[in-house]
């Protein structure tokens, strides 16, 4: 800054300025001798001159104020950046090489023969060497490391540093999945002067402003040069604007091309140059410059452009990539490397040539760079919004605690629960299966839609949200907003309400699957039917839920009272107002897939409800931790009855309406689940869980016309494919202390032993198991011993 204060420019102009009134006074002297009119004339001229100077002075002060306010204050709104969960690496982690490579690609790590630089990796069969990037988490910094990983099948078997020392746990950096940018759609990733690569600065100076370091904000020689070039060419081929002027134009002025604006620009450029150092101006320029368009999102600054075009931070860019960015300044859409690769390459090579001419790079460097490809990342990578459905959930959750302007302007870092691997497998399963379903069931192509949500059972963390078959499309979010009747997905709640009254109901209590004919309030009659249009007579609760019998469920629910069911829905996490009508018992209750996920999370977690969360932490721009969204659990339903229902839901998958899952997943996973179908096959649902994940799928049509698929024909196929991709962990339900599992004769509901023909091991709440032995026990003559054994098992 010292250079500024000693610069003569200000002083010399002061002299110029003070000279003006003197000239005016001289004029007065010459013309004022005796001639009144001449005297008056010169007085007027003086007044006019003074007035003009005053107005000019005030206006210039105003401009100067503008320059300072914007430059000293907060120059830009910095959008919040959103991150997926970091991948945790440790020996024994359930991560296969395929998933690991996807993660490395997502982070923009390069595969090389031998990793020398940060963010590169190599592979030798099941062994990987990786140099990681450092990353600042909300709870501390993770340094860049050199890791040695050994995989065995779908597990990470060993984790070492390159020196061979075992590492207990390493977090890879959190993949960025989007930003929350404001309504004017400017997105940028701030970088500081010291993060600007020297080659980038040299390229900028060579191409845009050769005398940047020596001029005072405006370069008259460059203007002349441009003028000559333009006259010679007969059109506008060259601009004489300095970097400072370009910055002024972008930061302060409109895009109109008038002389007045040009004048203002020049004046303000001089002011900016007088007030601020070259490095500050350069830093501002590098962050302001417009470098491309991503739908409605404008890409500003080299920091974001680097991520957007190359999916890596600016510091990791090599010469050809930096030159490409410099070249794009002249016309981001004209030289868009994705749309016009050849034009972009020509422009980049020109930049390289100019850099060579200026002596910034050698001929050899230039030639190597000219010979290299553009090196653009995939269109699907590079910091743009990748998972719009999940991000809209994040936004909604953030809006409970933050104002929109804080999210779009304060540079917050949002750490979410998204697992990109689970997300991508879910997207593939949904899109792939819907296509298959339309083909196999001869349904009109492209009409079927769907949604899926996957959450971690124990914590309520949302791992994936798929809002339709085209997951990149950020339109209607079916996972959050398609509120559809849930059909038989309600049944576990009805049975849970019954099993919470162990004196009246156990899994082997018999209920009537007999016609129902109810007179409703409006005088109408309600006569529901079973899916197969048959009545199955006297059935146990266990059989009825397994096979999803409608009539038995209605009879059971009416006996319990509708209030018992609605109250339980609240306990299970449903906050939506429920209409209390008998048809509720068959799922005349409309919920979104996300709400159904909450319902089944509470069941899967054994009655411990954890509110679904999409965010873990929020960090301020300066790196300090702002807020955590901690893990919470609430025991909202007794574990015992939930356990009985969950055992029943396992039976649904092994022998009931969900048995078709065996086409996707082996029986020894003991998964639990439930199908749901609504009137005229409008909605097809499946909800279920493995040991630590709960997943819900809906399939239907946006216009609510019949989709032509039952729950097991439609949604369950997606669910099966999805879970198979996730390689589920066998479901192991911990038996609560309040439960006894007893061998029971499935026909009579009486005590049996495991040698009886029809015996099944049925869980009961303590004190509610049958006490009368079936004839099978007395026949086999080993009854009493087994009875006792069964009881205490």
């Amino acid at each position: 800054m010292a250079r500024k204060s000693t610069r003569p420019a200000g002083r010399s102009s002061t002299r110029k300025n003070t000279a003006r009134p003197a000239r005016g006074a001289g004029g007065r002297k010459r013309g004022g001798a005796g001639k009144r009119s001449g005297y008056r004339w010169s007085t007027r001229l003086l007044a006019l001159t003074l007035l003009f100077s005053l107005i000019t002075g005030v206006y210039l002060l105003y401009l100067d104020h503008q320059v300072q306010v914007k430059f000293d204050g907060k120059r830009w709104s910095i959008p919040a950046r959103v991150y997926a969960r970091p991948l945790e690496l440790y020996a024994g982690a359930r991560i296969g090489p395929e998933q690991f490579i996807e993660e490395l690609n997502r982070l923009g790590y390069r595969k090389v023969r031998h990793p020398e630089a940060q963010a590169s990796w190599s592979r030798n069969n099941s062994r990987f060497l990786v140099r990681t990037r450092p990353f600042t988490f909300w709870d501390g910094a993770e340094p860049g490391r050199y890791l040695d990983l050994r995989f065995e099948g779908d597990r990470l078997a060993g984790l070492f540093d390159a020196g061979g020392a075992p590492q207990a746990l390493v977090r890879l950096e959190a993949p960025e999945i989007g930003s929350i940018y404001p309504s004017h759609n400017e997105d940028r990733l701030l970088i500081s002067r010291d993060q600007l690569p020297a080659l980038l600065v040299q390229g900028l100076v060579a191409v845009e402003d050769r005398s940047f370091y020596s001029h005072h904000g405006v370069d008259p020689k460059a203007i002349l040069r441009a003028l000559l070039a333009n006259v010679r060419a007969g059109e506008l081929v060259q601009g004489g604007s300095t970097l400072t002027q370009q910055l002024i134009k972008n930061l302060y002025l409109s895009r109109e091309r008038t002389l007045w604006r040009k004048l203002n620009e020049a004046v303000m450029a001089l002011m900016l140059d007088a007030r601020y150092g070259k490095d500050e101006i350069l830093e501002a320029y590098a962050n302001e410059i417009y470098l491309g368009q991503d739908g409605s999102r404008a890409i500003h600054g080299f920091g974001l452009a680097s991520r957007f075009y190359f999916n890596r931070p600016l510091v990791e860019l090599d010469l050809p990539r930096l030159a490409l960015l410099v070249g794009m300044i002249r016309g981001p859409s004209l030289y868009d490397p994705r749309r016009h690769p050849e034009r972009a390459k020509k422009r980049r090579d020109l930049v390289l040539e100019m850099m060579r001419q200026q002596g910034a790079i050698s001929e050899r460097q230039k030639q190597q760079a000219v010979d290299s490809p553009l090196g653009i990342g995939n269109p699907g990578s590079g910091g743009e919004v990748r998972y719009p459905a999940f991000l809209s959930l994040v936004r909604r959750q953030l809006h409970n605690d933050y104002r929109e302007e804080d999210l779009t302007s304060e540079g917050l870092r949002i750490f979410t629960t998204l697992d990109p691997w689970v997300q991508e497998q879910s997207e593939k399963a949904l899109a792939g299966r819907l296509f298959q379903l339309e083909k196999n069931h001869r349904l009109p192509a492209g009409k079927l839609q769907g949604a899926a949500v996957v959450a971690a059972t124990g914590s309520g963390e949302v791992l994936a949200v798929v809002s339709g078959r085209n997951a990149d499309f950020s339109g209607f979010n079916r996972a959050l907003d398609a509120v559809r009747p849930i059909g038989s997905l309600i049944k576990p709640v009805v049975y849970l309400a019954a099993l919470m009254q162990p004196r009246r109901y156990t899994l082997t209590t018999r209920i009537e699957d007999a016609p129902v004919n109810l007179k409703l309030a409006g005088g109408k009659r309600w006569t529901p039917d079973n899916y197969d249009r048959k009545s199955h007579g006297s059935v146990t609760l266990f059989q009825s839920l397994t096979h999803s019998y409608n009539l038995a469920t209605v009879n059971l629910g009416l006996d319990l009272g509708l209030d018992a069911v609605t109250g339980l829905l609240t306990d299970l996490g449903i906050t939506r107002k429920v209409e209390v009508v008998p048809a509720l018992l068959l799922g005349a209750l409309s919920l979104s897939p996300l709400e159904v996920t909450q319902l089944y999370q509470t069941l899967a977690a054994g009655g411990f409800r954890s509110p679904l969360r999409a965010i873990r932490e929020v960090q301020a721009q300066d790196g300090s931790a702002l807020q955590r969204y901690p893990l919470t659990v609430r025991q909202s339903v007794d574990q015992g009855p939930v356990y009985l229902v969950n055992r029943n839901l396992q039976e649904v998958v092994s022998t009931g309406t969900g048995r078709g899952l065996s086409a996707f997943l082996p029986a020894d996973l003991h998964l639990a689940g439930k199908t749901g179908t609504t009137d005229e096959l409008r909605d097809s649902w499946f909800a279920g869980f493995d040991n630590d994940r709960v997943a819900v799928v809906w399939v239907g049509r946006d216009d609510n016309s019949p989709a032509g698929l039952t729950g097991s024909q439609g949604a369950m196929q997606v669910w099966g494919d999805l879970m198979r991709r996730l390689k589920p962990d066998p479901l192991n339900l911990p038996e609560p202390a309040s439960v006894d599992s007893v061998w029971v004769d499935a026909d009579s509901g009486l005590l049996a032993d495991e040698h009886c023909a029809n015996a099944a091991l049925i869980p009961y709440l303590k004190g509610s198991a049958p006490v009368t032995a079936s004839s099978c026990v007395s026949r086999s003559g080993q009854g009493i011993g087994d009875f006792i054994r069964g009881f205490f098992e």
């Binding site: 100067d64 501002a284 804080d406 124990g458 906050t575 709400e595 300090s624 702002l626 955590r628």
Partner: protein, 187 residues
């Protein structure tokens, strides 16, 4: 043109304001949470360098949790948590250090990391429960201890420790009968 530029330089050169040459800050002010939030966030302003915890209310439940209190009495966990997983052991050790340093939010986050690796480790749930008890989040502490018990499977020491924790939480909540019941189960 000359006059304009001249005057510009006068104004730029003569005003020797304190801002001259000062680094142009890029960082904005601290964000302020929406005043009309649903009562889920406990703080109205964020103290520098301290993190706060907020209960997520959105879709499921309107229940709120008390604030994360950072200065709390230290209490050694009643039952040592253990695992066969070296990553979990490392995190447990970190959590212990954080707790000793008074970084309760950090310790909780570290335990949550461990729980993501072993969601069915009953002793991890117990550690989190005792952390919440130290923070006087009694309802949450009791629920977490219940959760721990639901996974404890014949670990008698742990089950008793959980019941003791539940008993203390219930006493603090003024539920004396329920607390007595828990003490009986803790024996």
């Amino acid at each position: 043109m000359c006059i304009v530029i001249g005057a510009a330089l006068v104004s730029a050169g003569c005003s020797t304001g304190p801002r001259r040459g000062a680094p142009a800050p890029v960082v904005g002010s601290q964000p302020v949470p929406a005043s009309a939030s649903r009562g889920a966030v406990e703080s109205s302003a964020y103290p520098a360098g301290e993190s706060t915890e907020a209960e997520i209310t959105p879709y499921a439940t309107g229940e709120s949790m008390p604030a994360e209190i950072t200065s709390t009495p230290m209490q050694a966990p009643a039952v040592p948590a253990h695992s066969n997983n070296s990553a979990v052991l490392a995190l447990l050790s970190n959590a212990g250090t954080q707790q000793q340093d008074g970084d309760i939010a950090g310790a909780a986050a570290t335990l949550e990391r461990a729980l993501r690796i072993e969601p069915r480790n009953a002793r991890l749930w117990h550690r989190l429960a005792s952390l919440r008890l130290d923070q006087k989040q009694y309802r949450m502490a009791a629920d977490l201890a219940d959760k721990s018990n639901s996974l404890a499977r014949g670990d008698g020491d742990l089950t008793r420790a959980n019941w003791r924790l539940i008993a203390r939480a219930r006493s603090a909540l003024g539920e004396s009968a329920a607390a007595r019941d828990a003490w009986l189960r803790a024996r």
